[in-house]
Symmetry: C2
Amino acid sequence: MENFTFHNTTDIRFGKDRFDQELKDAVSQFGNRVLLTYGGGSIKKSGLYDRVMKALPGLQVTELAGIEPNPKIASVREGQKLVKENDIDVILAVGGGSVIDASKVIASAKFYEGDPWDLVLDSKKRFAIDQLPIVDILTLSATGTEMNTGSVISNPETTQKLGTGGPNTPAVSFLDPSLTYTVSKWQTAAGSIDIFSHLTEQYFDQKGYENDVRNGLIEGIMRAVIKWAPVALKDPENYDARANLMWASTMALNGLPRTGNVNSWTVHPIEHELSAYYDITHGVGLGILTPHWMDFVYSEATRPWFVSFGRNVWNITGDDDDLIAKEAIAKTREWLASLEVPTTLPGVDIETDENFAAMAASAVKVNKLDQKAFVTMTEKDVVSLLEASMK
Amino acid sequence: MENFTFHNTTDIRFGKDRFDQELKDAVSQFGNRVLLTYGGGSIKKSGLYDRVMKALPGLQVTELAGIEPNPKIASVREGQKLVKENDIDVILAVGGGSVIDASKVIASAKFYEGDPWDLVLDSKKRFAIDQLPIVDILTLSATGTEMNTGSVISNPETTQKLGTGGPNTPAVSFLDPSLTYTVSKWQTAAGSIDIFSHLTEQYFDQKGYENDVRNGLIEGIMRAVIKWAPVALKDPENYDARANLMWASTMALNGLPRTGNVNSWTVHPIEHELSAYYDITHGVGLGILTPHWMDFVYSEATRPWFVSFGRNVWNITGDDDDLIAKEAIAKTREWLASLEVPTTLPGVDIETDENFAAMAASAVKVNKLDQKAFVTMTEKDVVSLLEASMK
């Protein structure tokens, strides 16, 4: 087992209708000048905006609205201007991964004089400067950003979608599953696949295999997502389904599933190319790629991982390890197909392979897929994976 | 699922040979006046004491040695005197659960003018005062104290062994599995049973059943303990075995396994009476009681918990739920027996039932077992459980 450090100080407030009472204290412990960030206005339609504003009496609230899915550097630049102009003390992010991701970089950008895209290109710059505290109210179970330091920001000018890390996780995260009752089937499926993919990326690792505490944690969260995602699709106001998906989202990417491993991801970097080129829904892209990636990496050498995955996640029994492994991949494929989102690239309107070579080159280069990964991939391997995903 | 708050700020430094390099910074971030606490001198024999002292150049170290298993209030009183006299900034606890537990109460006692037993009797007093930061180097995988706020302190004068909570978890915990290579078979078995019992106490809960993220986490840690405890007994220097047990110990009682449940414990309070009356090894006592407790609580009403336990922890398959549940209990009994520690009360020299009524009365009273528990227990039920544990 590899050495590791785990130190995650986010204060998780999980449950129904807590923020109305607790939000003001949670925010004002950091000051009175608040930047409220949110997305496209659905929080106004749902009444959440009014509840939030009502919960913040006496605080000086500046707003940054319109943060889009796959958040763009333009929103971060706008946020940077606002936090500087208003000498903001704390950011209150209300939304899903995009809003919180953008807010984390804005939180750093208050203390940076240049263009915040520099901070995305080089995370080290963020560790050299301060970062505003973030309180968030999560409205989508997917990215896990509510309990980690990461963000993914897109730059349409350069066709780049890049991950960036900062020094701090959110200070306080309100996780109210009932706020996700109104999440569409499409987004519920995509979010669930995103969670599942975070788990596969960390589970299938060069080094983690002998850490059974971590393996068991991941396997347990996987079983929860596999069980409850279909329930949430069928019955959007099922509290237990929404609660399991939300807690799974947070636990899947808070540092615990990667304790004692090496943690080189493969499917996410490739999907980031799809989203950067075609602006498709991240989770849907992951779901398209994942079973083909499993086909690619499965071999005698990687069989032990797939056997554990089959036995402990899919409850497959028997003595033939090769059969167990292959059935586990088949069951993953079936489950993904059951979530009623496209399972091929043409299904998300990617009809030709014209950009495959460029995307493969970028994915391999940015994430060194040919040097470090559960199973390394060359550009040619990535092109083959994308071609396999066409049907 | 119940609402919950999870906020655990302990900085976990897991792995081999880290503290030699990292200890000084970890300690001195809180000041230069250090109280070093430890147990009966095994750290001197093993060379750990010398390594620790060598890692702390320039710091002013006061020592409190001789903290016993089932730590006594006398050690806390001695520690209180030392932290006050020397105006200590930070406590460095080197040892197992007893040393760290006592240190946590000493950390509060610096800021209390009266007898620290008051603080054990009424934890609320500890939340009203400050608490010194604690850095620890763990030498036994068992109690989970390295990442929680709890302590258990014994008072031989009053025959009481009581749990107490404080405001803070340890600031930094160094978890080096190789430090447990020299732990005896007896203590390795007892520690593993303690971990397993922490998990059963939280798993079998009135409310937690629908939280599959938490269930999966617990089931995964259970599988790790079941697998690796026998390996550590057979091969004490197996790093993976020691690492899994150490990380399991920490994860089993850091707040995560109780997220979304009600968390009323039963077996621990009864065992605390055994230890208070007979000073037996806590984990061994838990192992003796647990299967009988399972027999007692198992019914049609509690069957779903036992079926999940059977399927996901013991990999029992089939369609007959009653059979799965009973086999799960039988397998638990077998595993405990395989750990080469006594499985009956006479095995730990408790030969008569003379104190059963008094112990039962105390356990029920202190922990309200007749009012809140997975399955409530009267004094008579507790006496029956103790009687069943005689053979």
